[in-house]
């Protein structure tokens, strides 16, 4: 999954650009600019008062978008895979847009298909990082396995407890 370290995000929008290029026909920045319809980014950087954060599909375990999709255009290849869109099946009915609790699915009005993050599953299958992660200049985005992240957090928490118990001597 894609992990965001908001302390490192400076809202440069490199992730948005890289995402749009990756999902373009040519997959080249200079050619993608001239494409029609223009390629769309699956991630959007939201600016808050004290921080900025790139928001994209959270790949919910019980995904409401999959539950409401009338044509099965949204699916998971397996239990751990991201939610993938079959553009051939998508009829642009907007149900998934209404169902998304985070408001990160959009409808491409021109093509009448939805636009959502698929965690660049084709790139990942080739052993590459998702485009947004690879493009992030500050390392605010990381592509990690969920178990590793929780293990790391547990370890950090244990270190914190040990420090408290020993009065900060560890």
């Amino acid at each position: 999954m894609i992990i965001v370290n908001i302390d490192k995000c400076n809202a440069c929008k490199s992730c948005e650009l890289a995402c749009a290029v990756e999902h373009s026909v040519s997959k080249d920045l200079y050619q993608a600019i001239h494409e029609n319809p223009a390629p769309q980014a699956r991630v959007s950087v939201q600016k808050g008062i004290s921080f900025s954060v790139p928001l994209q599909c959270r790949q919910c375990a019980n995904a409401p978008c999959i539950a409401l999709c009338p044509t099965d255009a949204l699916y998971r290849a397996d239990k751990d895979s991201p939610i993938i869109l079959d553009e051939e099946k998508c009829i642009g009915c907007n149900w998934c847009v209404l169902a998304c609790p985070f408001g990160v699915i959009r409808l491409d009005e021109e093509r009448r298909v939805i636009v959502k993050c698929d965690q660049c599953f084709e790139r990942v299958q080739r052993g590459e990082l998702p485009a947004c992660v690879a493009a992030c200049p500050t390392g605010a985005l990381a592509f990690r396995v969920l178990e590793d992240v929780s293990k790391e957090r547990r370890n950090a928490y244990l270190v914190e407890i040990a420090q408290c118990l020993s009065g900060g001597a560890v």
């Binding site: 959007s44 928001l55 408001g103």
Partner: protein
């Protein structure tokens, strides 16, 4: 062929709504812009067990609220 068609005249017929037909819309509780029909919102609420608050918020405002909630959590930690 004719007999079969007469047995059930409904088979193969579809009802097309007038393009000018207007259905009641739901306004977003945050920005006030209409974003879906009442029927759609009701279906989302019933099928996904969304709260009234969530169901009556437009997708764009949900994203903004999510970021706001994150901001609140982070500022409380500091």
């Amino acid at each position: 062929m004719t007999d079969v068609a007469n047995e059930n005249p409904q088979v193969g017929t579809i009802t097309i709504k007038k393009p000018s037909a207007r259905v009641p819309q739901v306004n977003c509780r945050v920005c006030g812009i209409p974003f879906a029909t009442e029927k759609q919102v009701r279906r989302v609420r019933e099928k996904l067990h969304f709260s009234d608050e969530m169901a009556s918020t437009c997708p764009r405002c949900r994203g903004v609220e999510f970021r706001g909630a994150m901001e609140k959590v982070l500022s409380s930690k500091e």
